[in-house]
């Protein structure tokens, strides 16, 4: 089993280092091998919405800046955990660069989910569990609710947690989340 930990190098605080260490220990204790990835400023280009990853090189972004390695690692993992600075109640820029470029991992076609909402269909039979751990200085309840809604409201197979300075609590919450690949609609 593999856990892939993605973090934002632009917000490399001492607390982030603590979290990386603690979460790595947690996943190892649960029998996972861990792979860490820190995304630095200007390391990735922004998705330019060309959709070539759907109609030219299906499943792969045409920009060769390291996103292929990230997407490959994501798709080879059982769990992908994002240590995500919360900015305006949303993902920080570096994390969002990676999230936007997750696009090759799905298909262009529209599907209608049971609740009537539209989504793109899955490219793969199953996907890693995705856990977003938001952190920031004195996040307001509005920011936390928005971060939760942005991550969970429109997608399946996603867990959203927040760092409240208590490592044991955070690890317990992660332990209660699905830590395995899951099939079905995105």
């Amino acid at each position: 089993m593999q856990a892939y930990l993605i973090s934002d190098g632009e917000f490399a605080t001492p607390r982030l280092a603590e979290l990386q260490k603690r979460l790595t220990e947690f996943f190892v204790s649960r029998g996972f091998t861990t792979v860490e990835k820190t995304i630095h400023r200007d390391e990735l280009a922004f998705c330019r919405g060309c959709f070539d990853c759907w109609v030219k090189t299906p499943g792969e972004c045409i920009m060769h800046d390291g996103i292929a390695e990230i997407n490959k690692a994501c798709m080879s993992s059982d769990v992908v955990l994002y240590l995500c600075p919360v900015v305006f109640g949303q993902f920080s820029a570096n994390i969002k660069f990676a999230i936007d470029r997750w696009l090759p991992n799905m298909l262009p076609y529209f599907v209608v989910r049971n609740d009537g909402s539209t989504m793109h269909s899955s490219r793969y039979a199953d996907y890693p569990a995705q856990i977003f751990v938001g952190y920031g200085d004195q996040l307001s309840s509005t920011e936390m609710q928005l971060f939760t809604d942005v991550s969970k409201k429109h997608r399946s197979n996603v867990t959203v947690l927040f760092d409240k300075g208590n490592d044991d609590l955070l690890c317990a919450e992660i332990d209660n989340s699905p830590l395995r690949r899951i099939g079905g609609l995105l």
């Binding site: 919405g49 109609v55 299906p58 529209f110 989504m119 793969y124």
Partner: protein, 226 residues
């Protein structure tokens, strides 16, 4: 009464290379034309160009000096596209708060038919506004973005432009008044059958793939299959 030459900045934030195929660019140009008739100074900031050509200094100064800002952008993964997040994150690092009373509006479009899914992006801009001491006054959430360029003149597209017209008219009134009207976020979709939108969208992907020399089944390749 506010001064009649209020400065409005339209932030056009589509990451697309070909901006002629960008809905945000279409809306930004449309808004500039509509606003031009009144006594306002209107400037478009194209975020993609600004970032790629390292011209953020001028853009950030324009935002900081604006009386009103309208963000116009596509929804990416249910929130702001990374490009716009980068632009705003750096803007706030340089100018943490507004230096004057500053109004914020937005037009957000998405490729899915449901315009309501743009709401979290709107709320993100509300967070940005609150953090930087600006006043968020809402905007328009648009669905079916995939057909907005090709069918912009079609009769079924009229409701979209009517909503945008209402927003622009409100923006003008706000700029001329000491007290802006109440914030309002509306949603609109072209009057077009959803199934037909899906059908034409899906057919379009297949046609694009064929144009690139692929077979339909190639679209479903799994390069990272475990």
């Amino acid at each position: 009464m506010s001064q009649s030459n209020s400065k409005i900045v339209l932030v056009s934030a589509s990451p697309k290379v070909d901006q002629t195929m960008s809905v945000s660019s279409l809306f930004a140009n449309y808004a500039r034309e509509k606003l031009h008739s009144s006594e306002l100074t209107v400037e478009i900031i194209a975020v993609r160009n600004v970032l790629l050509h390292h011209e953020t200094d001028h853009a950030y100064e324009a935002l900081q000096n604006a009386d009103a800002i309208m963000f116009i952008f596509p929804l990416y993964f249910f929130c702001l596209p990374a490009m716009l997040t980068r632009f705003l994150q750096d803007f706030v690092a340089k100018y943490p708060t507004a230096q004057q009373h500053n109004k914020v509006y937005a037009i957000v479009n998405c490729g899915f038919p449901e315009a309501g899914i743009n709401l979290e992006a709107m709320r993100g801009l509300e967070c940005f506004s609150k953090q930087t001491m600006r006043t968020f006054l809402g905007g328009v959430m648009v669905g079916c973005g995939g057909m907005l360029i090709s069918a912009k003149d079609a009769p079924f597209m009229r409701p979209v432009f009517e909503k945008i017209d209402h927003l622009l008219e409100r923006m003008i009134r706000d700029c001329k008044s000491d007290q802006p009207e109440k914030a309002l976020t509306e949603q609109v979709e072209p009057k077009f059958p959803r199934n037909l939108y899906f059908f034409s969208g899906n057919a379009g992907w297949n046609a694009s793939a064929r144009k690139n020399g692929l077979r339909i089944r190639d679209i479903k390749r799994k390069p990272y299959h475990m």
